[in-house]
Symmetry: none
Subunit: 191 residues, 4 copies
DNA sequence: TGCTAAACGAGACGGTACGTCTTGTCTTGCT
DNA sequence: AGCAAGACAAGACGTACCGTCTCGTTTAGCA
């Protein structure tokens, strides 16, 4: 039985909007709960009632906006992998994501509980999509064995992350295709 | 002509030691310039005279400790790549690095000037090592073409980073070898 | 309607006590807001929320302790003036006051807004008391004219201040009486 | 015999000039030894070799500029006193003095050694001038007794200081004359 | 209809860190 | 040995956040 006043939905909306605005204006690090509360016209308690930290709040707002990777079915494993890699590139190189990802990853890495949620909601979901793709390919006989989805995923996501956030440059134009090729080869696919 | 009192070397030493201690105790985020100064018995001005931010300070301390990747020459491309990958895994999965890397990467990403230095001193150096390895392999006829060192590097570093800092897990035991295989295949090496 | 959490009174108390202690220990100049906050077990923000500077804070604490000059009515103008002068001497030669007054006066002089408050709460109040005394004397026929309270006040306070804080000495024993005489003469009182 | 390089006179000049400029620009409190050294193109050591503190430095510069009170001889005690009072008013209400005096007095009061020098070089000198005036008057038969120069001086300087630095206002126009009258009366002069 | 419990906005609270400034001393190489 | 330059340890400055707390008010479901 729920007693007391139910939580008002408008807080979630107002906070989400304020977070997106502030991220767009100055990026992740200078964003503070105080500023979000002020901008959203919301009490800080209302925010802390919903999220335990800035990272959680931003994460939930950003996740909510980033709707699920579409499975994609191009008919060939190479095509599916390239499509998925292209999707990841698009996702991470959007201006918002560029501003948010490194800081968010750092805060997540420093908070085990949040790390688990992040892994479950982001990494595992992408891995599942990839697993589906690999299974489909195995069904078509393109793969000799089921294939390690986690490894394949690391082989796609890792280099993209490296280009975007570690080497300070842009992912080169043909990257998704080349990554797809690398995964194919690594999994021993019949070309 | 150098005017004025020269900078005292003992500050660099004391700060480096204090930074290493504090990183070991509580990780990157809770480390503050105030605490470093207090622990090192050094004025804050002395720190700000040398580094413009906590990230720069930690970076220079950490970089100084992390001496250059040894080239390695196992006789085969696969062996060289696996050795390099193993080296990167060892470097990044050391307890210190685990505590420092995500936060440091975030601060670096937020500071373009520092990003450039980081790319030059870390990424480019590893790429150069890798380029040497690839050239050697091309000389032995193991590679049909010179090979894109940046791409190969992303293919090695990215997945390791992903396993360590994004998926919240451990790199699986055979990872260096599998990554070496993936690079070989992606570069079209004669097995 | 009062919005937000109301200010807690215990801060004012704790700060006042800490200020008095620290003034007693080392005087005005070495007193810092940091030390007051630490001693009082109070956040610096709580202090800056109430006062804009160390001078304001000390002033309000000191003023609060220094309750109003009693009017005094000895029956004669000379007696009233001497009593008032004696009161001022006692006030300013208390050990606390000696330690605080010069520094506080300097900071007040450097801050016009505070200068106005100080003049209103200290000087004007003493002048009002003196005005009352002069009026009473005029009523008794001791004075030919109402008398310039500001001038009379300067004639009392100024020499005391000079002895205490400018000439580095002690006010001579009979000073209040001699000052009373000087004021009498200056105002053309019938002796 | 003087060993070593003799002190360069240009430092005293350059410092004096820099101090006067900086006092004129921002007043006493924000003036710092660093700024003086930088403005004067002088090393800080050179300053500390000459003066033990900012207060001493400013004091010596200001004193040096303020050449000795002229004795004045108007023929009557009242005239002499009024002239002296007028001189003090002029001295203390010059824009430079207004900016410097309260802060300087505070620092002097906090440093006993300096307090003594200040009393000797300023107060005692003015008292001596006043003593001469009183002696002259006694010689002319205007005074029944030699007269307490210290008291008379406090009666002149104190009220002026009060008007200028304590009550936040201007000394009223006829002040020197009224003060002269007060002193006359207080000393029991034959009018 | 009234009662009660929780959510709400606002903002104060004790702390901590920031990056800058000032103080008085020390250390260079030049004069 | 004095000098200009400037590094040094210490610590204060005023601001910004943190995460918690206390107000007075509002909004619901339960009695």
């Amino acid at each position: 039985m729920n007693r007391g006043r139910p939580r008002s939905g408008h807080i979630d909306q107002a906070v989400a909007e304020a977070v997106r605005e502030l991220l767009g204006e100055h990026g992740y690090q200078p964003l503070s709960i105080d500023k979000v509360a002020a901008r959203a016209g919301v009490g800080k308690a209302g925010i802390y009632r919903r999220w335990r930290s800035k990272a959680e709040m931003v994460f939930s707002v950003v996740v909510h906006g980033t709707r699920l990777v579409p499975p994609a079915d191009t008919g060939t494993l190479r095509g599916d992998l390239a499509a998925l890699a292209g999707h990841i590139v698009a996702l991470l190189s959007a201006p918002d994501a560029r501003a948010v990802v490194p800081g968010l990853v750092a805060d997540i890495a420093a908070d085990p509980a949040l790390a688990e949620r992040f892994a479950a909601e982001f990494i595992d979901r992408e891995r599942a999509v990839l697993g589906e793709i690999l299974d489909r390919a195995a069904g078509r006989g393109e793969l000799p064995a089921p294939g390690d989805a986690a490894f394949a995923h690391a082989l796609l996501l890792g280099p993209i992350f490296t280009y975007l956030f570690l080497s300070g440059g842009e992912p080169p134009p043909g990257l998704p295709d080349r990554l797809a090729g690398a995964v194919l080869a690594a999994l021993g696919a019949k070309e």
